[in-house]
Symmetry: C3
């Protein structure tokens, strides 16, 4: 496939007189895509029911005239001020009971049926008008679901919808009481309308209650999104995407993705490193202006799975942003490197956010490809380089992966609900494992939790999956390759109880977790073979093979055939050994890469990415800081 570049653009932010020149410069730069529309509801419908499409018609036409393809966004993330007069109770309510008001964006509750009605109306109006527009080549629903912590709401609208959801799921309060174990502290309900939301309880709420609420909240995002996709498809054949945000797990992206054609995500490597990554101060300092060497790759693999192969970067950081604790300038070359990392992972398109830095409002300190005075910023010229390089390469396909790594959103909810130890976080655990795979140079596929066929993968991992699904259990049982399950896998029933027989209860592996301990970071559990378990360890009874053992005698890695259970959170040293050994058993070649250097294959090329602030020599080649190198396979 021919890979393409694009940009996010807000014609409504600029004088119409400037559009023509902007479009001409975009085309000259070699961009293919222009994403527009997603924050412009107040311009599309300035007065309730009175639409103004003229300006948007002209904007699309101007872009189209220059050969640019439009991704048209629905504006439902930014309802106008008048919407609140129509639906005063449409606001989400935070866990402290405070309404989350007008004045920024995402000021709506997914569960508010009245607001959903207005969303359907504006989406239908857009789809009717632009569904067959030749320049509208793709759609985007809303913008960054869940951003700003907007999935969980404790509003009256959410409460009413949750009660309905419970009634549908459990059919009777007796069933619900039994499922949740409400007998525990006399928490039984007699009527569905007695159920509350699990916030502001005196001490922790029943985790089964919380998990039900998390499932409900995710389902609300799914149905909110589906409402839009169903309307758009009635009027348009263009593919539909949503732009997910990095390290957000508050709803099930696989479920939302099932209703979409393309998964896309918004990639801000420097902001994410500063804002939402567990890492040592040294690591954060070293990669301050480059971003973590693996976080982008992980999301690329994740969204390739969510998009069932089709995925984009809808927003790519082009320079300093405005929202992280610290906002450094990327190293020269990073805007190019990030794009190539995406293409190597199979991205169809990379769109920079945004065309020109806005001189006003919330994001005036967020860089664009152009400065506010329309002078090109560094990323502009790096994008140009990428366009030229793409032209010089053959079409790229996605490489077959060596490793399958299960990612399960419900497990993120489960371990937030019950971390049991301060440092236990599902994403952190999976990403820690992922980094280990990537240090070995492996190509990874992320697998959804209901994956039913593992035969393509010599090595499969499923760390921290709270409940292994029936299809996955069956696939594991049938798997001929190597697999490593755990820690803390299959540890809960779907209703968040401890299963009896005790976990992990894996097919063909005699192993019982007798008890677990969560540990502070300064209390490692040393392994006989070197390295340690950290944060989390399990004490297991087993008659299986013990491949790794703690110095206190308890088994740390247990196997039977190709199936293994990992009874703790390994540190880097232990993880590298465990993964290397597993790859050896699986017949996978590995290459231990130096710090900050990473590799990824397309179907035809092997790409090397140097995230270090200094040049690296590897395999006889010197790759400069922030450099990319590739060879044909």
């Amino acid at each position: 496939m021919k890979r393409t570049l694009g940009v996010c653009y807000y014609p409504e932010h600029w004088p119409e007189a400037q559009w023509e020149e902007d479009a001409a410069r975009m085309a000259a730069l070699g961009l293919t895509w222009v994403r527009i529309g997603e924050f412009a509801w107040a311009r599309m419908e300035p007065v309730p029911g009175r639409y103004d499409w003229d300006w948007l018609d002209r904007a699309i036409e101007t872009l189209g005239r220059h050969g640019l393809k439009v991704v048209l966004g629905t504006p439902t993330a930014t309802p106008p001020r008048w919407m609140l007069d129509r639906h005063p109770d449409m606001l989400a309510v935070d866990a402290q009971g405070r309404p989350r008001g007008f004045g920024s964006r995402r000021h709506y509750d997914f569960s508010h049926r009245g607001y959903r009605g207005d969303c359907a109306r504006i989406v239908q109006a857009m789809a009717e008008r632009y569904g067959r527009n030749p320049h509208v080549a793709a759609w985007q629903t809303d913008n960054e679901y869940a951003c700003h912590d907007t999935v969980l709401s404790y509003s009256p609208a959410a409460l009413a919808a949750f009660r309905d959801w419970c009634a549908q799921r459990y059919q009777s309060t007796d069933a619900l009481n039994r499922a949740w174990g409400n007998v525990f502290w006399s928490m039984d309900y007699d009527r569905f309308d007695d159920i509350g939301l699990p916030n502001l309880t005196v001490t922790e709420a029943n985790p089964a209650h919380v998990m039900a609420f998390r499932r409900f909240a995710s389902d609300e995002v799914v149905s909110f999104n589906r409402l839009q996709t169903e309307i758009i498809r009635r009027f348009s054949d263009a593919p539909i995407a949503h732009n997910y945000m990095g390290r957000i797990t508050d709803f099930d992206h696989f479920d939302v993705g099932a209703d979409l054609d393309i998964a896309s995500w918004d990639s801000y490597p420097l902001g994410f490193l500063s804002d939402r990554l567990e890492a040592s101060p040294e690591h954060k300092r070293r990669f301050l202006r480059q971003g973590d060497p693996d976080l982008q790759a992980f999301h690329h693999d994740l969204y390739r799975a969510v998009g069932r192969g089709r995925w984009w970067i809808m927003e790519q950081q082009p320079g300093p942003v405005n929202w992280a604790p610290y906002n450094p300038d990327p190293l020269p070359g990073m805007a190019r490197l990030w794009a190539w990392e995406a293409f190597a992972h199979g991205a169809e398109a990379v769109c920079y956010f945004r065309w020109r830095q806005a001189p006003f409002a919330q994001e005036q300190m967020h860089a664009g490809l152009l400065r506010p005075d329309s002078v090109p910023a560094p990323a502009h010229d790096e994008a140009m380089t990428v366009v030229q390089e793409l032209a010089g390469l053959p079409d790229q396909g996605t490489a077959k992966a060596d490793v399958g790594l299960v990612f399960d959103y419900a497990s993120a909810w489960a371990w937030q609900t019950q971390p049991q130890g301060r440092d236990f976080d599902y994403f952190r655990l999976v990403f820690h494992i992922y980094k280990g795979l990537r240090r070995l140079g492996l190509n990874v596929d992320i697998l959804p939790p209901d994956t039913a066929d593992l035969s393509a993968y010599p090595l499969v991992l499923a760390p921290g999956v709270a409940t292994l699904s029936e299809p996955l259990l069956a696939a594991l049982a049938a798997h001929r390759g190597q697999s490593i399950i755990g820690p803390r896998s299959n540890a809960k029933t779907v209703e968040f109880a401890t299963p009896v027989p005790l976990p992990p209860n894996l097919p063909g592996l005699d192993a019982t977790v007798m008890r677990v301990e969560s540990l502070p970071p300064d209390v490692p559990v040393p392994l006989v073979g070197g390295g340690n378990l950290l944060h989390w360890r399990e004490k297991v009874e087993t008659s299986g093979d013990v491949l790794e053992r703690a110095e206190d005698g308890f088994a740390a890695l247990i196997g039977a055939g190709g199936l293994h259970y990992l009874a703790g959170w390994p540190d880097e040293t232990a993880l590298d050994r465990i993964l290397t050994a597993a790859c050896g058993r699986a017949g996978l070649q590995v290459e231990m890469l130096p710090e900050g250097l990473r590799r990824r294959d397309s179907d035809t090329h092997r790409f090397w990415f140097n995230y270090n602030p200094v040049a690296v020599e590897w395999a006889g080649v010197t790759i400069p800081a922030a450099g990319v190198h590739w060879v044909a396979l």
Copy 2:
């Protein structure tokens, strides 16, 4: 007295078919006590006014048939959901103004008269039914008063009750205004109904207002509890206990205890070390799987005082718990060691919490004597060892203590109200002194603040007692032994004013605190004799003997006869010297124990406890890690 073991059990959590086998296994283990009932209101009264006692009758009968004695708990800590329909305003309100809702436990306001009525009703119904049941050998009121920060409520119910309390205490607003010094910032009240609760003020509320509110809140717990004891006593002769929680000072346990026959407390050594103890990271790491070597002992001594000699452990940690920041597995042997430490301090009974780990709801990660699959957990076998050891020892009585240490709940409120320095905490100060005494191998009695006779104690300490009571002042004046008062003792009037003449104003000791300073932890005040004052120091004018002096010339320990005033918070080095010297003057033999090794006498035996993760050799004996050793006296 014959010491006994018991367990907490929740028949309502398990199929009735399992009760018989559970009871048989408890009896086989050698347990004496089974605590039941305290969270089962929804099963006892599933519909308002319709009681269901059948299941409880059968549960008690099953246990009794196996020779087990029942401790029956009133279920008032877990009102059913329907209670909120009867009393929508029964919820406590936190300091931020948020109601603390249904969905966990302790969701009631102590001041709500309507809820109190329903509590009286259920307690009377239970007492009528089980007051003469031969298997019900003790009662427990409610569960862990104050747990989850539930004493202080800012609800309308609390406000109304507080106004009444003020009217009763002060009789006129003029008297109240003068007592509180309301003239200070024009804070005078004209009517009792103008008085508010001391939360959400613009800057700090008047500390006299806060202290009055703290006294009121404690009194509310006392009368809430007394309501239950008065009813139970009308129908039963069995002793009544309450299970207090560790390091909770929000109400006066002596006042509640005055209405009870037995004090009991819930001992979670690992959780408390992780969650609620000031200690260095090294200390927390060393004792991670054993708990602090003194915290249990302190509570044992405290509750022996609260129970006027009769005390239990109602809940003993048996394995990892679920609620601390980190939840490690106890070292093998600790479930035995903790029981013996309690018995050495005079406990009548030690009950493990709980029989079988529940696989559902909030505490599914909390260990029991049995795993969720009914397999014995390590603590099961350690309990069996204790049963056997008890059988091999003669009955044990409580040793006569060498040292009296005053503990005053009102002082905890006082210094929370006005810490004056970030690190000043009353419990922390008293416990710091207690640890010094225990390092010297001393047996300690905790004394209530109105103790009127100190003649039994060669050495008495009263650190941080905000207001010395008249009886205690008289007892100090009459005391022939050594005493050390201060720091920060007798520093306030009952109405939280600074007394004039200035503190400490002790009988027979010329010493005036001219001014005080609170200090950051990195600014010690060195003493001439070595060591430092930390956190807090007072500058005193005195004509008394100066036993310790700071390098800047100010007196640090002042004496006249046996009475001493300590003008600061000594570090360990200074404290060890001060206590050793005082013991010398008092004729007490001391033995400076190595880290983690502790001793305690019963009337016939000396017990040694090794809290270290390694063996310790002492006095020619090697005590293994987590080991207990005893010799006849």
Copy 3:
């Protein structure tokens, strides 16, 4: 001018029988001023509309009889409890939506028109009665505006007033929408009554919205104060002051000061060091009992500007206070040193807070000149020394300053609204520069942001001024001396947009900030000449002279003629070099002072202040710890 001492006194706190002796002792000590009245509303008007002036008459008369001059404070910071019955909605509301209730002080909303009416009434009643009293020699309005974070309120009263303010400023919502850039996220308003306050938004509010709200809130303080000064002036010719609090920037002190005759501030050097100063632990430890060597001086210079030359210390710390995280005792001599530092900076009067330590209510741990038992505290005798020293010196005038340093309250709001990096704070930046100037022994004048004439200053600095005013830009263009503008100066329009052409857009200096980065404290940007940029750096295009350059090649200090732009936040090393070089070009003699030693000139003398806890030898003189030394110029 003859410099004088005074004291704060609360006759209503003491039995009337004590007043006479107090006044006699104040006079004997040599005090000139007694500040009274500002918290006594409940005594002045115990019942709405019924005034009681008798006690105040007698108090003033008693003081006056002893030759003392009264500063009479209006009591509007402490409305009585009955005021809330008249105006239940008069309370401010915090950013979380919680009313800030009765029970301490400052419990009012500046925007509440009903409360303003009652303020006008009590002020008029006082002014009528005491406006011509021969002993009332000065007035004080209210007390410490903004203290306890009371400027920003999110109440209905504030909302209504803000809407009016917007309507007046912008005249139409179209103009407002354009000014704020509301198109950005469909945030447009159709009616002024749709505008909300910028709290509790889902993510950050529009910074232009926030800045408008900050300007409004400051204006509300100004008009609240003006209401009082206009009334007082109708009845009295005595000068009017307000007592500002240290490091508070929530309203524009220059604007409030324009309506007053005297600026005064409340100086708590130890509390401020502990509570509100960025400094290393070492620095805080070294100056724990002395206070930061520059913070007082900075405020002295600031309030000399706010008072247009006339300024006082209205409250001077005399010993330990009660409100900081830690409250140490000042080193002996500090109560004298602080007074002399103030006089050297031109203070007319220094009043200690307070006469006698109150034994009750919120400030019972706050030292006075007397202890609660009326015994003199150390500061009493130090004040006596100052009185004697003043008598031995000729009258002192204010020295001509070498350096002008612009201070702009709106910039503090701007960079709180949009710090862009966690460590960027306007006051911190300006104070950092000020400390550099003071290390060089320079006398500094603070300049308001609309300064139109810089000709008196060989060196002018304007770091962090968000928007350079027209007069200041003109004055800079006309300036013949040296000036250093930046970092982050002229970076915003008045409506908080990024200006195009890009900043700094200075007259005669070709320099364009292409982009900026905020950096964590462990990532310095090294300069070729030594030292680093910290926290903040800008990448500039320029054809000007590059005086300082970063090792990565970007210019750090750019000049054209005498005008310079500083493109980052220099560390101490870099700052010292930059300032020394600038002083060299400006023809100013500098003297690099040792740590903790500072100097300041009056018109006739040079004063040396040793803030160190040890003696310092300098220029052949040994100055003891906490010592002051002076020589005639």
